[in-house]
């Protein structure tokens, strides 16, 4: 059936009104009686041993209720089973500036802040590592004792015969690409509220309830159980509204555990909300990545082999690191047909906040390198950049050389669409000097086929309950984080049951109420939770159909559910659409909704007397089903099929997905050759999302991804100096504002995946990766320079332009601070540690005191 009544139509999200009126509650909006405020003391050193912590002065302060340190929760944890290397509060060592040392729970924020000042910590400062290539040489003072050379993990994969591929090639391109570190910067700072109950039987401390801004409530429940040594059944995690995640809330963040420890020690509810600066330290963003890439092609543009050596600067803890480094290699495949791949990936530890999963997890930086290099090769063999991509398409259904199964594949159409809409053929190469067009493609998984905790359990389970009121309640563990998860669930349930959206209520992401769902990450929710919803709804529908068919004296298969009614396919009246008599339809809705139960009862009696019917209202059918079955509930679950779970090689579990989304983009940019400033005028972005369940949301996700990719391409960068983040504020980090944001034309391509719910796949991440190389390629088209380092800041663009003309590089930091890295920007943000940070260099502008040196005398 392609004629849908609910899906495919642009609708407002089911929770939109709560967001636009301010009545929706995020974690920090919640308050409990007697609630305390928690504040965390962070390390001022990038690498140090903790010799002694003295909290006595702080504890004596009036209003301080509890102070907790590492020894209050000594169990290690981490999001990956192979990476249990974190402690919520440092046990013996701190490993980055901002690492968590102690937490104060006090009656208000001012008291807690004051108490932090009174905690005495004695550190033994250790040598620190900031550069991954330096860190890999380390012999002593390792960041983690069990990780020699500070190497978290390395993988070496060979698929096909790369040597033969290199030998067969006519053209080779080889270069080093660098993508600097970026972070999610979701608008809502992380927040957690934790409360213990007293057990009625024992009279002692009992169950724990945690409200948290998380994408993964069930993982949080699991890790809390591990650290607090409580059974999972004693822990309830509730996810209120979440103000954006992008991966930054897709694992357990220290404050989530610290709040629980503090609540336990304080014997009162504790809420901790990060400041924006703390959010930057919590990080888990996209690591700085060094990519040595070699791509080989034949004269006709066919790729013969790819070799990539990738080093990721992972920060101080494992986090999702092992998965990130595997994604970087695995998703070299499944976009184009590449017969031979050699991949060497190194995930390296450094003394900086841990990197983790961020939108387009692991694929983005490598995609930038690959698509830039492909563009370079196209120029070499004098082929249109759009054509070289068309010549390397997969022939699905197929399995790639590295074991990824591809079924639906909308990439060819995506390329055609953006080429057409952007006027590529007519305009490419004909724009005025310093204005250019660039094309690039990308893809992403619709959920990982293998969950991070190895088990055979379903990845998503959904329960549906329908009562005599005809209300459909869907219980799903999927986490709405702004992407439209709840709306998608409601749409699929309503479409399947043929009822109106208004009947469907969503109860989501509460570990006590909802069945397990592994969370909102790797773009898995529509595909997996959507399929589970579909199956649960079909189960319920079957029960309703059986009862309704009895009443109508027909076979259940003959019934159609639509527009809040159930009717026979070939009903004898057939006056109105779908065979449902129009006037009866209206009277039924009156009886059901307005006139209430009593009238409805008598109407039903009247109908009973009249004998079998051709149609029933949804409510009547539900009542019939409950009378017949005794109760009306359904359960559906989803686990990826074994064929989609990938190869058996080491690390082969990361990369496989039941379906991949595809994107092709054209960017139009201009470059100011005097200043090096790049302006993106427009991006045409075609995205194959399988089927667009809610087009307005799909377009929103495409635009949002492209926009975030543009941010990484042009302005966003975490700037470090001796392990200290120099720009921990939204303006200094340079998240683009409305005036810096280009027009994005989203183009939806529907390839109808055979296994997706109604054919749907992911739409929230796959588009991001193409934007960066599309802009890079457009810059090349505009001014003829090939940029190898992201972001393309005016400094880097200008340096490349001057190099092209044989001019000397301008050193913007000359005379300011000789120890500062070239990318140094003045730290204009918030206070750093209230003066507790390491000594600044005498020439550091932030250290200048008094008006003497400041030119303006301010």
């Amino acid at each position: 059936m392609t004629d849908f009544s609910i899906i495919g139509k642009p609708i407002a999200m089911v929770d939109a009104a709560g967001k636009t009126t301010g009545s929706g509650k995020y974690t920090d909006d919640l308050n409990l009686p007697g609630m305390l405020v928690g504040r965390i003391l962070h390390s001022p050193f990038p690498h140090a041993r903790i010799k002694r912590i003295d909290t006595s002065r702080a504890a004596a302060l009036d209003g301080v209720v509890a102070i907790v340190t590492g020894k209050d929760a000594p169990n290690p944890y981490g999001i990956l089973p192979v990476g249990h290397d974190e402690h919520a509060l440092a046990l013996d060592k701190v490993r980055y500036v901002g690492d968590n040392v102690a937490c104060v729970a006090a009656i208000d924020e001012a008291t807690a802040d004051q108490a932090l000042e009174l905690i005495d910590v004695e550190y033994e400062v250790l040598p620190a590592y900031f550069d991954p290539e330096e860190s890999m040489k380390a012999e002593a003072d390792l960041i983690h004792d069990n990780k020699p050379h500070n190497l978290e993990k390395d993988y070496h994969h060979v698929f096909g015969d790369p040597d033969k591929g290199f030998a067969d090639a006519d053209h080779v391109a080889e270069a080093r690409f660098i993508a600097n570190e970026v972070t999610h910067a979701a608008m809502e700072p992380h927040s957690t509220l934790a409360q213990f109950e007293i057990d009625s039987q024992t009279g002692k401390r009992g169950r724990l309830t945690v409200w948290s801004s998380t994408q993964v409530p069930y993982y949080l429940q699991h890790k809390l159980s591990l650290v607090l040594e409580m059974p999972m059944a004693q822990i309830r995690v509730i996810k209120p509204l979440v103000g954006g995640g992008f991966g930054g809330k897709s694992e357990v963040i220290p404050l989530e555990i610290i709040a629980a420890i503090a609540a336990r020690a304080a014997r009162a509810p504790v809420k901790i909300t990060y400041t924006r600066e703390e959010v930057f330290w919590a990080h888990r963003g996209r690591p700085r990545t060094i990519i040595d890439l070699k791509t080989c092609v034949k004269n006709d543009g066919r790729i013969t082999a790819v070799k990539a050596r990738v080093i990721q600067d992972g920060g101080a803890y494992c986090s999702y690191g092992v998965v990130t480094i595997l994604y970087s290699g695995a998703l070299l495949g499944a976009l184009y047909d590449i017969p031979n791949i050699q991949y060497d990936g190194y995930r390296v530890l450094t003394n900086k906040p841990a990197c983790g999963a961020m939108r387009g997890h692991g694929t983005v930086n490598v995609r930038f390198a690959f698509e830039s290099q492909l563009d370079e090769l196209a120029a070499k063999i004098n082929l249109d950049p759009a054509d070289i991509r068309q010549r390397n398409l997969l022939q699905p259904p197929c399995v790639t050389v590295n074991g990824l199964r591809v079924q639906s594949y909308g990439l060819p159409e995506c390329i055609e669409k953006v080429v057409e809409r952007s006027g590529w053929k007519q305009r490419k190469g004909k724009l005025p000097r310093s204005r250019g067009l660039g094309i690039a493609c990308s893809h992403y998984v619709s959920g990982a086929a293998n969950s991070i905790i190895r088990s055979d359990m379903p990845h998503s389970t959904v329960n549906i309950k329908i009562d005599r009121d005809g209300g459909v309640v869907v219980y799903t563990g999927a986490s709405e984080i702004g992407q439209g998860s709840d709306t998608m669930t409601a749409q699929i349930a309503a479409e399947t049951l043929g009822c109106s959206l208004g009947r469907v209520k969503i109860v989501a992401a509460d570990t006590d109420l909802t069945p397990i769902d592994i969370g909102s990450y790797s773009s898995r929710v529509t595909f997996m939770a959507g399929n589970a919803t579909l199956r649960a709804a079909e189960q319920v529908k079957k029960q309703i159909a059986a009862a309704a068919a009895r009443k109508m004296s027909c076979a259940p298969e003959e019934l159609i559910f639509r527009d809040d009614s159930v009717f026979r396919k070939n009903g004898h009246v057939g006056t109105a659409a779908f065979g449902r008599p129009a006037e009866q339809g209206s009277s039924a809705s009156v009886s059901g909704r307005v006139e209430g139960q009593i009238l409805r009862g008598s109407l039903q009696q009247k109908r009973k007397d009249e004998g079998p019917k051709d149609w029933m209202t949804f409510e009547e059918a539900v009542v019939a089903a409950i009378d017949f079955h005794g109760a009306l509930t359904g359960t559906g679950s989803y686990a990826p099929p074994p064929e989609a779970r990938g190869g058996k090689h080491k690390g082969g579990g990361v990369g496989p997905s039941p379906a991949y989304s595809y994107s092709a983009q054209v960017a139009e940019v201009s470059v100011d050759e005097e200043t090096g400033e790049v302006t993106v005028h427009k991006v045409w972005a075609a995205h194959d999302c399988g089927r667009a369940l809610n087009p307005v949301s799909v377009e929103g996700q495409i635009i949002g991804s492209v926009w975030m990719g543009m941010g990484q391409a042009l302005t966003e960068e975490m700037v470090w100096k001796d392990g200290m983040l120099m720009n921990p504020g939204l303006l200094e980090y340079r998240s683009p504002s409305s005036v810096e944001s280009p027009e994005v034309e989203p183009i939806i391509v529907e390839s109808i995946d055979p296994e997706g719910p109604f054919g749907a796949k992911e739409c929230s991440e796959g588009s991001l990766a193409a934007t960066i190389p599309a802009i890079a390629n457009a810059i090349y088209d505009a001014v003829g320079v090939r940029l190898h380092e992201v972001p393309f800041t005016p400094e880097r663009v200008l340096a490349a332009l001057r190099a092209q003309r044989g001019q000397k590089k301008i050193n913007l930091t000359e005379g300011i601070d000789p120890t500062a890295p070239a990318k140094f920007r003045e730290h204009g943000g918030s206070l750093w540690f209230r003066g507790k940070g390491p000594e600044r260099h005498p020439l550091d502008p932030a250290r200048r005191e008094g008006p003497a040196e400041a030119a303006g005398g301010d």
Binding site: P10, I11, A12, M13, D15, A16, A17, G18, K19, T20, T21, G22, S23, G24, K25, Y26, D28, D29, N31, A110, H184, A185, A186, M187, E188, P189, L241, G243, G244, G245, F246, T273, T275, R276, E277, I481, G482, Q483, G484, V696, S697, E699, G700, I703, G704, V706, W707, M708, G729, L730, L731, S735, S737, S738, V739, S741, E743, V744, G829, S830
Partner: protein
């Protein structure tokens, strides 16, 4: 710090509050009045999520002292919808995808309602300029422009019908 008694007028209602002289307007709204629609998204008045209107002018409530707002008319997001229904701009933000995670939305709506009061027919450039003090991380802003245009149309249609 010793508290002082102040009188705040918020969304056309008067409240008597005891607050420290250092208390920020945002904290007074969120903590003392439980008006949690205004959000805190940053430490340094860079994000605009806390925007409220003071005497009709959009202001960052995270950088104003509550005590300095006495005798001024404060409007928060909770004061935008009237008669228990969505204002045109709120409806349009929902319909056109102007809000995804929704955390920045109250701040944007306070900015936009001021823009539309000042300039009922803004060009896209006017809109971009007006919104540049508010940050959003989800939408890339595009769908907000559509929402704002739709809200203007809806308002005009509503006014035409009323005539």
């Amino acid at each position: 710090m010793k508290k002082e008694l102040i009188e705040l007028r918020v969304n056309s209602r008067s409240y008597e509050l005891a607050v420290e002289p250092s208390k920020l307007l945002l904290d007074a709204l969120r903590q003392d009045l439980q008006l949690t629609g205004s959000k805190r998204g940053c430490d340094d008045s860079s994000c605009g999520a806390c925007t409220v209107q003071v005497d009709g002018v959009p202001m960052l409530s995270c950088t104003m002292l509550a005590a300095s707002c006495e005798r001024q008319e404060i409007t928060t997001i909770e004061g935008v919808s009237g008669h228990g229904s969505l204002a045109a701009i709120q409806k349009a933000y929902g319909d056109w995808g102007g809000a995804q995670c929704g955390f920045c939305t109250p701040g944007f709506i306070m900015t936009v309602t001021h823009l539309l009061a000042e300039n009922p027919r803004p060009t896209e450039e006017d809109i971009r300029g007006a919104l540049s003090g508010n940050l959003c991380r989800c939408t890339g802003y595009s769908q907000m422009y559509q929402a704002i245009k739709a809200a203007i149309e809806a308002e005009q249609k509503g006014m035409a019908e009323a005539r």
